[in-house]
């Protein structure tokens, strides 16, 4: 995150400063979505009791407070409405659907600044909540792909094809242990009555712990062979790469029949990790040829220290940049899926779903132009920010 924290603004060109500004605006809108566009008031005074319904929604969305709570806001006094008094999913019964920009049914109602869709949902509210949603998908999927990707990539780059040496005992026991692990993943849901993701995670942790000991125990005897870890993992990545990502994601989504957002994020992360692995591997390989790594190896510095203290600080710069590009491409991927209509659940409003409505009803140009501009600006901003890297390391490119 050095790029973000060590903002030496003098080093940036004018256009990079501008794009940083726009990016922070996006972040602001994503954070304040519930306050900016909400059909509930931000603050109201109901019979002497202060209430903050819009702020309460934040806690409702992360399941801290229950959503069942409801009372009539219309009778309250001292109301402070949000700037756009429509939520992303609130229907405006007074508009007949497909209202053009700056439409209002009566002088009492607020303007639909960017018009409405077929059901009378406000487009601007959808855009604002879509921003939050896009950031949610982009950030989480990038984080999920980032850590396994760089871990495997650094292992591949550091150990290469010859640095790990195991004897036959170790290899055989590890192969058997891998099959045991696969069987365990299949049987655990049936074995534990109160099965959850946490149980599975613990089992996997125990599996890795025991695997480490297996290798330690058997390391004493026998002739040792070089392990082609790099080759094996690269071939696995080749299998991943041989499927076009969009087609694979489409078929995965069909298997799970309109999955939840978290599952979609998980699927995008599964498709994205090879990218991080490849870049981390290439950077580590380059670093490993330098003299200071060779000399610290010869001095007996442990692998863990070499990887974290020496290699990681030198490769992290390009990895952060890749992460930002991966963020934008995850957003683009989700938008594309929603655009062609094989996306998430229908009630979820996102940039892509608005664009999809615009595609189906061509005269409603406001449905597609504004969300399209939002995605375009975000992509352009990120490309501007790293103009140097944008062509070589950019996964968004088609």
């Amino acid at each position: 995150m050095n790029i973000i924290w060590n903002l030496k603004l003098k080093k940036y060109t004018l256009i990079q400063k501008l794009s940083l500004f726009i990016l922070s605006l996006y972040v602001l809108v994503a954070c304040l979505a519930n306050v900016l566009a909400n059909d509930k008031p931000i603050y109201c005074n109901c019979n002497g009791v202060m209430r903050w319904p819009a702020l309460r929604e934040y806690l409702e969305q992360i399941n801290i407070l229950s959503t069942t709570h409801s009372f009539d806001y219309a009778n309250c006094s001292h109301k402070l409405n949000s700037i756009i008094p429509y939520s992303a999913n609130s229907l405006d019964p007074t508009s007949n659907g497909f209202a053009p920009p700056f439409y209002r049914s009566s002088p009492d109602n607020a303007y639909h600044i960017l018009g409405t869709d077929a059901l009378g949902k406000d487009v601007l509210a959808g855009l604002i909540h879509g921003t939050r949603y896009a950031f949610y998908i982009g950030i989480l999927s990038t984080i999920l792909a980032f850590f396994p990707g760089i871990l495997l990539g650094m292992i591949m780059g550091y150990f290469q094809n010859y640095k790990i040496r195991w004897n036959l005992c170790q290899i055989l026991s590890l192969v058997i242990w891998i099959f045991v692990g696969l069987y365990e993943m299949y049987i655990t849901p049936h074995l534990f009555p109160d099965y959850s993701f946490l149980v599975q995670l613990t089992c996997i942790g125990v599996w890795f712990f025991l695997a480490y000991f297996l290798i330690k125990i058997f390391s004493k005897f026998g002739k040792k062979y070089k392990m082609p870890i790099d080759n094996i993992l690269m071939r696995c990545i080749d299998v991943f790469e041989s499927f076009p990502k969009l087609l694979l994601l489409m078929s995965l989504i069909v298997i799970y029949t309109r999955p939840s957002t978290l599952l979609l994020i998980f699927l995008i992360a599964i498709l994205r990790w090879p990218l991080f692995a490849q870049i981390a591997r290439a950077e580590t390989l380059k670093e490993c040829q330098s003299n200071y790594i060779i000399s610290s190896e010869n001095l007996g510095v442990s692998v863990y220290l070499i990887l974290t203290k020496h290699i990681w600080p030198n490769i992290k710069g390009s990895l952060w940049v890749t992460a930002l590009f991966s963020f934008s491409s995850a957003i683009l991927l989700e938008a594309t899926l929603s655009f062609i209509g094989i996306g998430l659940r229908l009630e979820q409003v996102s940039w892509g779903s608005l664009l999809n409505e615009g595609r189906q009803y061509l005269p409603g140009w406001w449905l597609s132009v504004f969300p399209g501009l939002a995605i375009f600006t975000l992509l352009l901003t990120i490309n501007w920010l790293f103009e140097e890297n944008s062509l070589s390391g950019n996964p968004t490119n088609k």
């Binding site: 069987y183 049936h190 080749d238 087609l247 078929s251 298997i255 062609i340 375009f376 088609k398």
Partner: protein, 442 residues
Amino acid sequence: MIRFILKRILVSVPIMLLAVLVSFYLIHAVHSDYNQSDSDSKISKSKKGFFSEVKDLPTFYWSVFPANFPDTLNNIIDEKLRKRITSHLYNGNTIDKITYFLKSEKELFSLLDENNTAIQESILSLSQGNEIKKIILQLPDSIKKKGEYITWMNNLNILIKDEKLWRLAIPSLHWNGASNQFHLWVKKIATGDWGKSMVDNKPIWIKIREALTWTFTLNLLGLFIVFLSGLFIGEYLFINKNHLISKVMEALLFLFYSLPIFFLGLILIYLFASDIVSTKMHILPTPGFIDISTDKSVLQNMLQYSSALVLPMTCMVLPSLAYLSILIAKKLSAESVKPYSFSLWVEGKSWQEITSKHLRKNIVFPLLALIAMEIPALISGSLVIEILFNIPGMGRLMYQSIILQDWMVVLYILVLVSLITIVGKIIADAFMFIFDNRVKLQ
């Protein structure tokens, strides 16, 4: 050279097998999901396909089950019964005790009349023995005195005692031999018997071939345009680095480069294929009417609808043109810093001459290899354009098959695309090896 290519092919054989296996399992997962619910009419359509023919066979060459599972579980064709037995097996019961229990249950149910159907259904839906015990208390007393009830009760008690979860922890390996779903399916592909589509009963191979011809013709044409004009623009940008025009052009190209394809397509439709902006600009037909006639060849069809193909081609060309020309300009300027081009410059040659005689050779071959690798990606890359402009290509075929739940077509497309990708990579590597002397040296 032959050794190099042979080695490359040998390495990619297991990758191909794995890719085929992955796509098989994806579609298998979809299918077994849908088999369980019978109600939907769309789903019953998909039951006629390959997977329903081989439903009683095991999935793969070997199967790993817990020790208490029988070999013959696949032979039970009745889905509900199989599901029920499996749920008891997952409680840790052995197969013979389950069989006794189910037999006596059948005798008991023959006694029950219509008033007790609710109890009957709830017994059928439960798998835990203790839960079944709670339900049967609701049965009328007249039944509880009968002999069938008592034997059933005894069997249930035996079943509850027999529930031992530790049995699940012991795996057992079953070898299924060649009569399994995967083997039969691979055999089917290899012999060319790809079956018929569920939707229109057309042979799948012909459907895919037609779609492939559309996609490849359009994309290769687009690629040709992109490469030639990209080289031209890139060299222009590099030679006139400091001119105002080239700076403006670079900024414009950067805009196009970040433009999402679907947004560009929609804007082009608004501008040139609809009356929204102005009626004068409406010079091209609105998308969504391409109706290919089967008696003409694909090329004739394309020529007939050439006016409808202008916008999709533009949509395809613009972003990649922007990408390629900026890339070429950058690569040229990276090459121009190297000693050999500097010495040429010192000799007094113009940058134009140096570029056309020396630099171009050095950047074009890596780019060509890059493009050879991109060809398979085009199949999915043009998916959005094909759906938006209604072109009967590969992407739209995939999309439609997914929506109409024609799984076999989806499966074949996945396999085909992944195989083409792997072969494309081999070709790109061989290409680099033959034409680029720098790779040979390594």
